[in-house]
């Protein structure tokens, strides 16, 4: 196939994907139109391979007419793969710089926006428990996908991952044995239900839904990397509006507040670990 034909085909595919996303929004209300294009295209093409469909137009037919096909696409578009205590130094900094402030509050409201399958929610629950803050805290863990929330609620993770997580936990300043927090069962472990007594798992769509409370801490790590710049701006505004004065905002290691409309409204808690405090 010649280069020219390939480039034409790329262009055609981009148009088809825009049409598919428009249809997905208008028929089902899920708005992926402002998602970052490279990764969304990859995931759509991946779903198509799994469904054995060769053109995006044919796939659109399937998605718009078959609810189950749409649900599978939604899962494919929503899942990202994280780990417990991902970037341990983030949690270590949280212990050292944020926990002392939270101690002075009568209650602590935390929003974990885009919590996926819950690994980082359980990490935060463990941290708060070790710091004696869990009982007065509520963690609102939200995601767009019902499917990943169901998994997050279960708190069941593969046993094979525990070695890595144990290392992360220790480097994150963990104070006990990591295995104290789960019970192994064949190839999986289940985290102790006490860790989720103060966690509210709930559907929330960062693209279309508004603010639903005022929080002392908002974590939105490696979620906005899937959005284009316009949508990132919207979400930055939403987070700013949902954060109390001097509230703390946590981003992923390779995300930056620089060049966002709210950059001047925060100060860095720790430059390396992407923790910010709202000061205006």
């Amino acid at each position: 196939m010649s280069a020219l034909v390939q480039s034409d085909q790329t262009q055609l595919e981009d148009i088809e994907i825009a049409l598919l996303l428009e249809g997905l929004y208008r028929v089902y209300g899920f708005d992926f139109r402002d998602y970052s294009p490279a990764s969304i295209k990859r995931r759509i093409l991946e779903r198509m391979r799994a469904e054995k469909i060769t053109t995006v137009s044919a796939y659109q037919d399937c998605v718009l007419h078959d609810n189950a096909c749409m649900e599978r696409l939604l899962v494919g578009l929503s899942v990202h793969v994280t780990s417990m205590f991902r970037d341990p130094s983030f949690y270590l900094t949280f212990r050292r710089k944020v926990v002392p402030v939270l101690r002075t509050y009568p209650t602590v409201r935390i929003w974990h926006a885009g919590c996926s399958t819950g690994e980082e929610v359980y990490s935060m629950a463990i941290l708060l428990q070790e710091e004696g803050l869990y009982r007065k805290s509520v963690i609102y863990a939200t995601d767009i996908s019902r499917d990943v929330l169901r998994k997050a609620r279960e708190g069941i993770f593969p046993l094979a991952a525990m070695q890595e997580y144990t290392g992360n936990y220790m480097r994150a300043g963990g104070k006990h044995e990591f295995s104290d927090y789960y019970t192994a069962h064949y190839d999986n472990v289940i985290f102790h239900p006490a860790l989720k007594t103060n966690v509210v798992f709930s559907e929330h769509n960062l693209v279309t839904d508004g603010s639903f409370n005022e929080f002392h801490v908002i974590l939105c790590r490696n979620v906005m990397i899937y959005f284009n710049k316009a949508l990132q701006e919207r979400v930055h505004n939403l987070i700013y509006e949902s954060l109390s004065m001097f509230g703390v905002f946590g981003l992923g290691n390779k995300e930056s507040l620089k060049f966002t409309p709210r950059a001047d409204f925060y100060e860095k808690l720790d430059g390396h670990d992407k923790l910010y405090r709202k000061v205006k």
């Binding site: 020219l4 970052s36 294009p37 990859r42 994280t82 490696n222 710049k229 390779k254």
Partner: protein, 194 residues
Amino acid sequence: MTFEIIVIGTSYGGLAALQTVLPALARDFPLPVVIVQHRGKDSDNLCEFLRRHSALPLSEPNDKEAIAPGRVYLAPRDYHLLIERDGFALSTEAPVGYARPSVNVLFESAAEVYQQHVVGVVLTGANTDGARGLAKIKAHGGLCVVEDPAGAASRGMPQAAIDATPVDAVLPLPEIAPYLNQLCQHEPRSFYAS
């Protein structure tokens, strides 16, 4: 043919290979160079290490960072690195072929955006990552360069790439940087000047 971006993928043995390639790039190299080196989840110091061996400024890009010419970009640990029209994008999608970052993910996204203006380079590695991505670069009219498997620290990745697509050049490691310098010396740097 004008080229606009160089993408390089490597795995086992890549650290040593990059220590040969990066110092030998021309100081006025006119294109961005983007590297996926397979790396562990806690490989925090790789960027600093390679920076010491690079003729050009080297960094791990942030999400949505603009791609600048004459710079080397290293895919950060535990993320896929993708190329978009207006810059880099990161992703925490599942590892591809056990790898995150994945060479294929970088190469395929580069081919999508830059079409025939991509140069793809596969260096040493003990798996097959990069082969599918290099084939896509080729299919879009880009240029494919592979380290000679005979001399590579690990022949797996170069051989898989050669098997997957008719590559344009198979070169011993020390000749790769001079080849890229030659290839790109007439590229107009002003194209990117901001």
